[in-house]
């Protein structure tokens, strides 16, 4: 039963989005907060990630957007005095923090109970050695392994066991720092790297069982030892590829009933031995030739897999975990889906679920695509189908790649022998290589031998592939059309493959129907508003409509919200924040909200968020199918990022009403010519730019524009393939590549104005605009806005210019009749204001601006989309006055997970997440942002390495002087050394980057940071790239913009002045004294 002594609970979030820790913890955290509030418990929340929904003041009672460090959490505990904290909901970050707080005695000191799974259990599961001992004790098999703290011990193990060996560092998320070694050389490298990345300098070395089936069980246990399996899952990729990078299917397909029962029993035995209270994930390896199995890993917490299991079955694991932490038993809770049965049951499903990771390699063309034990995917898609084939095909569609079919991924050119050889490559394209091999008639057992993918899956992929082949070669007939639809092929694909006209397909009369996700395979009637599509079956939607008629429920008008699909660099959790808020706002306005999305990690795909949820690919046909059944008044596309915006035109062509800003206006800002004309008409300046189609045109354009310039392909997200060039040489070396990226579209060359960059978000009703505030970037223009640090309110922009920016926003909004959100980016140089970009949609900064100002921007935007005027709504208009809250946003990168990616800041976005430092003055907020970003202060000052491109030498001089004065010993590369010598700054010259020595220095922690501005082309590009990569690997701060460096030194100064940093809630910061005029 509910423990009535618990009145206030601290929930720890998971911090910024990084590879291995994404939106799934926002989903879990929000469910937890809601569950706590449902029980009347006061919720105190801490998270440094401002883009999350959990940091909304409607979700928790007290919201602290503060660094996730033991020091800050302790201070918050001291202020709030919570009765308990839940450690298992904030990912690895939350878990590690809770362990630290327990170990340091903080929890005991303030009498904070750990609710749910306790610290001892967490340690048992997380500490490799304790876990290994426990498994041996209870007789559960684990692969031969050893825990080592140095390479000598690791070598001893390798000599005994032989290769291949898997290396896993302790306490790291997403397996960072791990890998599989085939020989001693690789082994040494990975072990040393793992040791440096593990917070406790421990790695597990383990006999590799690559090739086994990888199976997962999601178990929930309550304090009375009742255990249920929410879902079991099978990785289509065998052991050896991180589960986050694997294609996954739920439930298990290819293991027999007895094998499943055996693993179920083992999972339950383990969770009982660990005494976990709440959700937990157990991973197994199962031999393909016997019933032999191994326990691979246990996650004693809610995880990415549990989010997937929740979405796959409808069973809300995070919510149940929270209630268990509050004292409930499983059988004391209702099954939220059926509303009639109890929570202590095992969901059974009558469909198949497939998850496919979304990797950032389309963005990082030069990145290392090989998949292994280190996760590389930034996000994932999930699809539900009545059969494996349809779920699989729908998931591929959901990836939003250029191609949605399974063939023609440019492997046709390979010879059979080449293809056969390449099949061994374990990368993001392996499934498409496999289907190419299948289409050539390669033998299934042969393919199984090479890929270790189970023959049953290969056969299923074969069936899908053959349908595509038949579409290309056979005449269209009802049977073929039916097969294609049941396999998940879109009409657009069928048309493209077969050459049949779209209108001709209508005569086959095969329509999509929608089925319910109900946790019980239809055994009990359920009211979950959660659907997926299938073909050739009855529709469950009609049941609801029928019931509404029976109950004489007045039908409400409906509005559809399009989500943003999988999380990728440039399109992250902030759009989920916007979609979710849009759904709430729509409901508040008296409409039913219809949500469509394909991302299992997010809150938008929680069936509680919208009136009805459709888990579907974000493809035109899938959305039209839903519209046909639901008949919404219109669709809102401005909240789901580029994914949703890209669908607007084709939806409109099909007669669907787009609510909010008109398509014509969207066109104006997306079309360069129209946009330039608009700005000219409104008397707004913009940097000169030209579109060029070939090399000659490019040369002419460069002559006309002068330098520096920004070169980029058109039609890309997140500044992909964008390059800043200071000289003609640099431009020439890049332009060819840009043409390649552009795929036939023109390449754009713009004047680069090296000024101060700033941006604003606003809500417009077409007449008035509300601008919550203006953000100023720390880095000068040229760094992608998603990758630059920024500060709200702006610190260096005079009031007159701020007013001018507001006027710009107003005139653009009025001219384009913007209804809803708009984001404008500016450059200021020598007091002149230039507009560089206008986005007539939600932007990355909307959640931040909403939080720092307390204005629910999305709510207002929805209302203006529906035709309301801001003034009528009682909303303020114009530039909103600031308080003395200052917030500094810092981007967070995941380079440690991605090999061969240059960490240098560039016009192309690379960050995966962000943190926010909030305080009452810039210097404190800045220091908090650095701390939240993982920078350590207070360490002894060692040497620093400085290497600058010519362009930055002069502007960097005062900064380097500051570095020197701060007490660091400067090492510099040849050119930089000479420059410093001339300017009287002592430095030690190093030869052409003595990589080995530098690497050793970094490994041993004898290098404080690196300042290195990148250069395009030439040797120094390569060596700079190398040094930056090594710095990332050893977690040595690496500054690639002199502006970030300057900001760091400022933060350091604040730190060294012994400034006391205190946490406070975001609403308190806002409440403090106002200045400025309303």
């Amino acid at each position: 039963m509910l423990d009535k002594d618990i009145k206030k609970v601290l929930v720890i979030g998971s911090g910024p989005i990084v590879i291995g820790q994404a939106a799934e913890f926002d989903y879990a955290g929000v469910q937890a907060c809601r569950a706590l509030k449902e029980e009347g418990v006061e919720v105190v929340l801490i998270n440094s990630n401002p883009a999350t929904i959990m940091t909304d003041e409607t979700v928790a009672d007290k919201v602290y957007i503060e660094p996730l460090t033991p020091e800050f959490v302790e201070k918050i505990i001291k202020i709030e005095r919570p009765d308990g904290l839940i450690a298992s909901l904030g990912g690895q970050t939350g878990l590690n923090l809770a362990v630290k707080l327990a170990d340091s005695g903080v929890l005991e000191k303030y009498n904070v109970r750990v609710l749910g799974t306790d610290i001892q259990s967490i340690k048992l599961a997380e500490d490799r050695e304790l876990f290994k001992n426990l498994m041996e004790e209870i007789g559960e098999p684990i692969p031969a392994s050893d825990i080592v703290s140095d390479f000598e011990a690791a070598k001893e193990f390798a000599d005994k066991i032989g290769f291949p060996i898997i290396i896993r560092p302790a306490y790291t998320l997403g397996g960072s720092g791990g890998g599989i070694a085939q020989n001693m050389e690789e082994y040494e490298e990975i072990v040393l790297q793992g040791l440096s990345q593990s917070p406790i300098n421990q790695v597990l070395v383990e006999k590799s069982i690559a090739g086994y089936k990888e199976l997962e069980y999601e178990v929930v246990r309550d304090s009375s030892d009742t255990c249920i399996i929410v879902c079991n899952m099978e990785n289509i990729d065998p052991i050896g590829i991180h589960t986050g990078d694997s294609f996954v299917v739920a439930p298990i397909q290819t293991a027999t009933n007895d094998d499943c029962a055996m693993l179920r029993a083992s999972a339950i035995k383990i969770i009982r031995a660990l005494k976990i209270e709440g959700g937990c994930n157990v991973q197994f390896a199962l031999d393909t030739k016997s019933n032999k199995y191994y326990v691979i890993e246990v996650n004693p917490r809610v995880s990415r897999s549990s989010a997937l299991a929740s979405k796959a079955t409808g069973y809300p694991i995070a919510k149940i975990t929270t209630k268990i932490a509050l004292g409930y038993k499983l059988h004391e809770m209702k099954n939220a889906v059926t509303g009639t049965t109890v929570a202590s049951f095992e969901p059974t499903i009558d469909y198949v679920v497939v998850k496919i990771p979304k990797w950032p390699f389309d963005k990082f063309a030069k990145g290392d695509r090989i998949l292994g034990t280190k996760m590389k995917a930034t996000g994932e898609v999930m699809a539900i189908g009545r059969t494996f084939a349809s779920a699989f095909k729908k998931a591929i569609t959901s990836l939003e790649n250029k191609r949605t079919g399974i063939l023609h991924y440019k492997f046709e050119k390979l010879s059979d022998a080449e293809l056969m050889k390449d099949l061994e490559i374990q990368d993001d394209m392996r499934i498409f290589r496999l289907s190419e091999a299948i289409s050539r008639g390669f033998d299934i057992s042969e393919l199984n031998k090479i890929t270790k993918i189970d023959p049953w899956f290969i056969n299923e992929i074969k069936n899908i592939t053959l349908v595509e082949k038949r579409l290309e070669t056979e005449p269209m007939c009802p049977e073929l059309y039916k097969d294609a639809k049941e396999c998940g092929y879109l009409d657009s694909e069928i048309v493209a493959c077969s050459g049949v006209k779209h209108s001709d397909l209508k005569k086959y009369k095969i329509e999509a129907s929608f089925r319910l996700v109900d946790t019980c395979a239809g055994e009990f009637s359920s009211k979950t508003p959660y659907f997926y599509s299938t073909y050739g079956e009855n529709c469950d939607l009609e049941d609801i409509q029928y019931e509404d008629i029976l109950n004489k429920v007045e039908p409400k008008k409906k509005i559809m919200v399009l989500g943003s699909g999988p999380i990728r660099i440039g399109q992250g959790i902030e759009f989920d924040y916007c979609s979710v808020h849009a759904s709430f706002a729509i409901q508040n306005q008296g409409y039913e909200s219809i949500m469509v999305n394909s991302n299992p990690e997010t809150l938008s795909t929680d069936f509680d968020v919208a009136t009805r949820l459709y888990f579907e690919p974000m493809a035109l046909e899938n959305i039209l199918n839903i519209i046909k059944r639901e008949r919404p008044e219109g669709v809102m596309v401005q909240f789901g990022g580029q994914t949703a915006i890209n669908l607007a035109q084709s939806l409109s062509d099909e007669g669907v009403k787009i609510l909010g800003t008109s398509l014509d206006s969207i066109d104006v800002v997306e079309d360069r010519k129209l946009f330039s004309a608009l700005l000219q008409e409104l008397g707004i300046k913009q940097p000169m730019g030209l579109g060029v189609k070939n090399f000659n045109e490019a040369m002419k354009a460069l002559d006309k524009l002068g330098f520096p310039v920004l070169i980029r392909p058109s039609y890309v997200i997140g500044g992909r393939g964008m390059q800043l060039c200071y000289t003609k040489e640099e431009a020439i070396s890049y332009i060819e590549e840009a043409f390649k990226f552009s795929d036939g579209h023109p390449v754009l060359i713009d004047q680069y104005i090296e000024g101060l960059e700033a941006e604003l978000d606003c809500v417009s009703d077409g007449v008035d605009v509300l601008i919550p505030g203006i953000c100023e970037h720390i880095e000068r223009a040229g760094v992608h806005s998603g990758d630059s640090m920024s500060v709200y309110p702006s610190q260096n922009i005079p009031k007159s210019l701020q007013n001018k920016m507001a006027d710009c926003a107003k005139s653009i909004a009025k001219r384009l009749n913007i209804k809803g959100l708009m984001n404008i980016q500016f450059i200021i140089k020598n007091g002149v204001l230039y507009v560089i970009e206008v986005n007539p949609r939600a932007s990355r900064t909307v959640p931040i601006m909403s939080k720092v100002t307390g204005i629910n921007m999305v709510d207002l935007a929805v209302k203006t989309c529906l035709g309301h005027r801001l003034r009528d709504l009682g909303a303020p208009v114009g530039l909103y006055p600031k308080t003395n809250l200052v917030a500094v946003k810092m981007p967070i990168f995941s380079f440690q997970k991605l090999n061969r990616i240059d960490p240098a800041l560039a016009p192309e976005m690379k960050s995966t997440g962000e943190v926010l430092g909030v305080d009452t003055c810039f210097s404190k907020a800045l220091l908090k942002a650095f701390i939240a970003g993982g920078y350590k202060f207070g360490a002894p000052k060692q040497r620093v390495l400085i290497s600058l491109s010519d362009h930055y030498k002069n502007p960097a001089l005062p900064i380097i002087q500051d570095i020197y004065k701060a007490g660091y010993l400067v090492m510099a590369t040849h050119g930089t050394h000479k420059f410093l010598e001339k300017n009287g700054v002592p430095s030690k010259m190093i030869e052409k980057f003595m990589m080995d020595k530098l690497q050793k220095r970094m490994k041993e922690g004898r290098l404080s940071f690196v300042l290195n501005t990148p250069k395009t082309g030439g040797d120094s590009q390569k060596s700079g790239f190398h040094i930056r990569t090594i710095a990332e690997m050893y977690s040595v701060p690496c500054f690639t913009s002199i502006d970030t460096m300057r900001a760091y030194l400022k933060a350091l100064k604040t730190y060294e002045e012994k400034t006391i940093l205190l946490p406070d809630t975001i609403s308190n910061y806002r409440k403090r004294k106002f200045f400025g005029i309303f």
């Binding site: 209870i138 009375s224 030892d225 009742t226 255990c227 249920i228 399996i229 439930p251 298990i252 397909q253 290819t254 293991a255 027999t256 009933n257 007895d258 499943c260 029962a261 179920r264 029993a265 083992s266 999972a267 339950i268 035995k269 009982r272 393909t288 030739k289 016997s290 038993k329 499983l330 059988h331 049965t341 109890v342 202590s344 049951f345 095992e346 969901p347 059974t348 499903i349 009558d350 469909y351 198949v352 009545r386 059969t387 494996f388 189970d454 023959p455 049953w456 056969n459 299923e460 089925r515 395979a521 239809g522 055994e523 009990f524 009637s525 050739g536 079956e537 009855n538 469950d540 049941d543």
Partner: protein, 354 residues
């Protein structure tokens, strides 16, 4: 090849045949397990029934020797969404389709099984036929006049036999049990003397066994008139343990009544609470008849309840030494979970062993 399903209410569905040829009649029921098709189709408790699986993908790991409940198939017909003749497992010897052909089970795939389930959920189990032949009027008439078989003496063993060599000797009346259950008892150190369902009370009482076990089975327990009389004669004279069908039988013998559930409990995720320990176990179930709680007679104490529909999942009658559960024991019991069979065997050992 085409196969057609016709329901009592004249609903017709067509799909593809992948089993035996011909026409079969039976009671349409559904099972919600996501794996274990092989164990299910060979379970005698499905005698007389046409089974629809709610999980769509069937036949994935083929058919192997080890998973057999009772060697040959007992269902009459099999309905699923998707069958794929391609199978993959190191133990597999044949495909599900081949197995059906050999065992004369008519099977059909490509069916909207979810809609079938919704129909059964609403209207209750119904008669149905599956045919691979041309549809004719005669079929509709036969279906209209088809009487569900509710009595299955033929699925019991023909002759008495003995399994195991344990300390405890148990008389086991087979109403249509399966190997898993027998093996489990043997594994717990019990000598099991398996008797046909037609066994007399005297034969049991004279057998020198420590206790009596009433097995699972098929059909309507109320139709087992002679068998009930036998049990009535045994009550109080020998400790009785009963499961599933046997639980309903012994309840009837004690004077309680049974009722037929709207759509039966068939699946592997039924939550059952032990009222004494307040622990919950997820159980495998296959029954359509349950004891009516209101009619339990003096001395019958409910020990287990179904958490979904509050139906009786077990009772005991301590003064008559009777223990019974409606659910089936798990084949592999996770450590720390309640193992009903093990506790029964311990009970026999501690209290009744001579």
């Amino acid at each position: 090849m085409k196969a057609t399903i016709i329901l009592e209410d004249k609903t017709m569905l067509t799909g593809c045949s992948f089993g035996a040829q011909g026409t079969v009649f039976g009671e349409l029921v559904f099972n919600t397990s996501m794996s274990g098709y092989q164990n299910i189709v060979s379970d005698p408790a499905y005698s007389g029934q046409i089974l629809a699986m709610t999980y769509p993908e069937m036949g994935v790991y083929g058919i192997n020797k080890e998973d057999f409940e009772n060697k040959h198939a007992h269902i009459r017909g099999f309905i699923c969404k998707k069958y794929n003749p391609f199978y993959s497992n190191f133990m597999a010897e044949t495909s599900l389709g081949e197995y059906f052909k050999k065992n004369n089970v008519v099977a059909v795939e490509g069916i909207d099984t979810r809609s079938l389930v919704k129909k059964i959920r609403e209207y209750g189990a119904m008669s149905c036929l599956i045919t691979t032949e041309e549809i004719n009027e005669e079929m509709f008439n036969s279906l209209k006049n088809y009487k569900l078989q509710t009595y299955f003496p033929e699925i019991s063993t023909k002759k008495k036999y003995v399994l195991g060599e344990g300390k405890i000797k148990l008389a086991f009346i087979d109403y249509g049990t399966n190997d898993d259950i027998l093996n489990k008892l043997v594994g717990l150190g019990v000598t099991v003397e398996v008797y046909p369902s037609s066994v007399s009370a005297d034969e049991i009482l004279n057998s020198g066994n420590t206790a009596l076990f009433l097995s699972n089975g098929a059909g309507d327990p109320r139709e087992y008139k002679n068998e009930l009389e036998t049990i009535k004669k045994l009550i109080g004279k020998i400790p009785i343990y009963a499961m599933s069908f046997g639980c309903a039988l012994v309840g009837l013998a004690l004077g309680a009544t049974v009722e037929k559930l709207q759509h039966g409990h068939r699946g592997s995720n039924h939550p059952v609470i032990n009222l004494e320990t307040e622990t919950v176990t997820l159980t495998v179930q296959n029954h359509a008849y349950v004891l009516d709680k209101k009619t339990l007679t003096d001395g019958m104490k409910v020990t287990y309840l179904n958490l979904n529909d509050s139906s009786v999942e077990g009772f005991e009658c301590s003064k008559l030494n009777i223990k019974a559960v409606q659910f089936l024991p798990e084949k592999i019991v996770p450590e720390g979970s309640e193992d009903v069979f093990a506790s029964w065997v311990a009970d026999m050992e501690n209290n009744y062993a001579r």
